[in-house]
């Protein structure tokens, strides 16, 4: 990244948009408010992309399962891990009269029984039981298994693809991202505290965009985050590096290295008094954090004052690596202007009560920050829908948003996935 002249006092932040081959013009608002566009995204983006379902640790042992709903496509995916640790995905729909088979969202079981007429399935998908089978007509049980959904894993991340025959492999889909993030650690992946937003009134892109630029942080989160994400050397929280990686994209954000809780913040100081990372915006331990910092693609320029490496997996999944921890965010469209999302904050199992106290503080702060975003985004969606503007303007530090919408536009316009993925 070349250093270019920028207004004082910020003279050392790389340009991101043009060097990454992106345009600089305004972006139309229609994709954030149009029903017709939403349907195109359903068919051409969510219907064709490999969708990240989360970590394999969410299936903690043999015969675990989870159920994930992809509302925009009307799909309910049953993801299973069998006795040999193979992970598979199926439509959670009975072969008899198409009722829902599994009602829970997660659990343990090697077989599933539909509660309508007791048809039974193994977690490999095979149909293994049909009551009063003799009363059907030439029933071939081999053809009565659960309908599979393409499912692959990469580095402990589970992906599904809703195309009957995916046009590209997961490896092709991940492209450069998959190469450079190979072997990235996933500290404390076995447990997370979760923040769930079952429905909020904003388009899914409006929502995910707010987690992928730091320009808003000093303004929207002045007391919860402001002093940790900006200081006099970077008043506008400019990013420290950023890369387009095929359909995906990554960015390093700035952290204020001088932040210490003020004298008056008695509980914040007590909470962080014994944390070994010295980081007041996280909850992981120093060894885990060092492993993250040693990875070549995380904070690639190895600047000391980084706050997060944001990895945006196209279209809707974020992995955050930070000196304080590791977490994911996933955003699921429910309609053109409603979104469900989930944050999974991976923190270690507390070893003692002081660490547990600190984790409560961390979870409080994250929830406060997320709630500030929710209120803000519902206002933005309403304003976008008012028709007062037809375009938005993006600055250089918002390049992830530009690459996201450019990539979505490309997928919508492309007849094939391979064409959408072409450079």
């Amino acid at each position: 990244m070349s250093v270019v002249d920028l207004p004082k006092p910020n003279t050392e932040f790389p340009k991101l948009t043009v060097p990454n081959g992106l345009g600089t013009g305004p972006i139309p608002i229609a994709p954030y408010i149009s029903q017709a566009w939403y349907e195109q995204e359903r068919d051409r983006v969510f219907g064709r992309a490999w969708l990240c379902m989360g970590r394999v640790e969410q299936l903690p042992e043999a015969d675990s399962f989870i159920v994930k709903e992809i509302e925009i496509c009307g799909v309910i995916a049953l993801i299973t891990r069998d006795a040999k640790d193979q992970i598979r995905a199926f439509h959670n729909v009975c072969s008899h009269r198409a009722n829902l088979v599994v009602h829970e969202t997660s659990g343990k079981g090697s077989r599933f029984v539909c509660k309508y007429h007791n048809w039974a399935y193994r977690n490999t998908g095979d149909c293994i039981g049909v009551p009063d089978r003799a009363n059907f007509f030439d029933l071939d049980m081999k053809k009565c298994g659960l309908t599979p959904i393409a499912c692959e894993t990469w580095e402990g991340w589970i992906f599904i693809n809703l195309q009957k025959q995916p046009e590209v492999t997961l490896t092709e889909f991940l492209g450069n991202f998959g190469e450079v993030f190979r072997d990235a650690p996933a500290p404390a992946a076995t447990q997370a505290f979760t923040v769930d937003v079952t429905s909020m009134r904003a388009n899914w892109k409006v929502t995910i965009d707010a987690f992928c630029e730091s320009y808003h942080v000093p303004v929207l989160h002045p007391s919860t985050l402001g002093d940790t994400f900006a200081n006099d050397s970077n008043r506008y929280a400019r990013p420290l590096s950023g890369n387009v990686r095929g359909a995906h994209r990554t960015m390093t954000t700035f952290g204020n290295p001088n932040y210490v809780p003020p004298e008056s913040s008695l509980i914040e100081r007590l909470a962080y008094s014994n944390i070994d990372t010295g980081n007041t915006l996280g909850a992981n331990d120093a060894a885990d954090m060092q492993a993250l910092q040693n990875h070549p693609a995380i904070n690639p320029n190895k600047v000391p004052n980084w706050a997060t490496e944001i990895c945006w997996l196209f279209p809707n999944f974020l992995i955050f690596y930070s000196p304080g921890g590791f977490f994911t965010l996933e955003f699921w469209p429910l309609s053109v202007n409603t979104t469900r999302w989930v944050a999974r904050m991976h923190t270690p199992v507390a070893a003692d009560v002081r660490q547990r106290f600190q984790q409560e503080h961390y979870s409080c702060r994250m929830a406060e920050i997320f709630l500030e975003d929710v209120g803000n985004l519902e206002r933005q969606q309403k304003a976008m829908e008012s028709g007062g503007k037809t375009e938005i303007i993006l600055q250089d530090g918002e390049f992830l948003l530009r690459h996201s919408i450019e990539t979505i536009q490309k997928w919508v316009a492309s007849a094939t996935v391979r064409e959408a993925l072409a450079e």
């Binding site: 429905s199 007391s223 008695l266 507390a350 009560v353 106290f357 209120g375």
Partner: protein, 124 residues
């Protein structure tokens, strides 16, 4: 997603000996889950939050020191109650130390956001 507790909200001697002065705060502030503690703080007035914060902060370090003798996931009931009470301090601190008001400016309430499970080992 909210978990039920088997503990009655308040009992005689509901906190360990020495912490009697915090007894009046147990019923409201020793919420059973992170999500309940968050919700209680969000619904409280600034005066209520301050009165809890000012009473509990001077006892917080001592309370944590007392609790250090027990495994986190196997505490006696009175210690669990004290832990839950102390875990409301970070929530109260959001109002006192960050916002200067019960909830962040312009953040919605009520809202559809919930802390699901965690932190661990308790999951509450």
């Amino acid at each position: 997603m909210q978990m039920q507790t088997s503990l009655p909200a308040s009992l005689p001697n509901s906190l360990p000996a020495g912490f009697e002065a915090l007894e009046p705060f147990v019923e409201y502030w020793a919420g059973a889950t992170n999500d309940i503690r968050w919700d209680r703080r969000a619904r409280a007035s600034m005066a209520e939050i301050r009165s809890f914060y000012e009473a509990a902060v001077p006892r917080a370090d001592e309370g944590l020191a007392y609790l250090e003798q027990f495994p986190l996931d196997a505490m006696p009931d009175d210690a669990t109650r004290l832990l839950r009470l102390l875990l409301s301090l970070p929530h109260a601190a959001m109002a006192v130390e960050f916002h200067g008001q019960p909830r962040a400016a312009a953040s919605p309430f009520p809202h559809g956001m919930h802390i699901g499970r965690g932190p661990w080992p308790q999951g509450w």
